[in-house]
Symmetry: C2
Subunit: 200 residues, 2 copies
């Protein structure tokens, strides 16, 4: 247990809590006071910490994600989606904003679930721009969509597909922690483009 | 004054405060109690509100941006940069993280000021990924950079270049409020790519 804690970086008390809550499978008992844990336990602890610390999920939501990860009859896509859908903010945009998003997704030919929370997320973000009279044209939106599809292809290239648990871990960490990287790259690129166009 | 407040959406008391602070040029007096304001006043109020409400700048920082906007000897690039550099979080990444960013920017051929806060922003974001053992390869980083450069070109296409005040307004609002749009598009695109690769 002390070794598992050291290797995963999760305190012993927290490991015991996850064991009691059923989030972590028990080790193999080797004596009254000792159990053996393997690398799958370390990996599971890393996934739980990523879902709690990085994605900000409650332990109830973590449990739901882990159930999808462990159920081999759930496709890899749906296992990742179970984590993904919990990352969304629960925005409730107007019907008009939702309809524009549905039209855009349709015209792009993207396969997205009709009830995907990501549709509502985009609708809310577009509505916030309209509120300050900075609405995006369809052409600008399509340019952004095309660039972000390239980003998503690169995202999925980094997901290890052989291991469901590692895949969900990579998808969650990659989705959330790569966002600041993209934000910083965009600002650096703006600086470059602005300098080329307007001098300085 | 009441009409200026109604047209800009800024309360009369706030307009008076900006006049006293020198952020807003006085109108032309037409009587002891009336002045005439024009569309440049409305636009200036919108810019101040965007800098305060959306970018979260202090009034001191707003003053600095407005000085750059009003000084015609400052290039458009530097006027936008004065707002841009104030949007950054003031991260202090390690020297090693900074050096990687400098190498990447150099290899991309981007023209970015050596002391740009956007370099520190990228270094901090990359370090956060390394901390959770999800470091990005140079190849992935270059793919992201290329996509974000396309985004930046589209960003700058929406900036009205004839009017410095409107340009800075569009750059600030566009930079910050488009971020959630890109985040939502990326997640929608991930859903599409994941579905195509892993079924579901």
């Amino acid at each position: 247990m002390a070794e598992l804690s050291a290797r995963s970086g999760v305190p012993v008390a927290t490991v015991k809590y996850y064991l009691r809550a059923g989030l972590l499978r028990p080790g193999v008992s080797t004596s009254a006071t000792r159990s053996t844990y393997d690398s799958s336990h370390v990996q599971r602890l890393r996934l739980i910490r990523a879902l709690v610390d990085i994605a900000g999920l409650s332990l109830g939501d973590v449990q739901r994600v882990l159930t999808a990860v462990d159920d081999e009859s759930v496709s890899m896509h749906d296992a990742m989606g179970s984590a993904h859908s919990l990352l969304s903010s629960g925005a409730r945009p107007s019907a008009a904003a939702r309809e524009r998003v549905d039209r855009v997704v349709e015209s792009l030919g993207w396969r997205v679930a009709p009830d995907s929370p990501n549709r509502a997320g985009l609708a809310a973000a577009l509505a916030a721009l309209e509120d300050v009279e900075h609405a995006l044209s369809d052409q600008t939106l399509r340019t952004y969509a095309s660039s972000m599809h390239d980003v998503a292809e690169a995202d999925l290239d980094t997901v290890p597909t052989a291991d469901r648990q590692a895949a969900v871990h990579a998808a969650v960490v990659g989705t959330i922690l790569v966002e600041p990287v993209l934000t910083a790259l965009r600002r650096l690129a703006q600086e470059d483009v602005s300098g080329r166009r307007f001098g300085g």
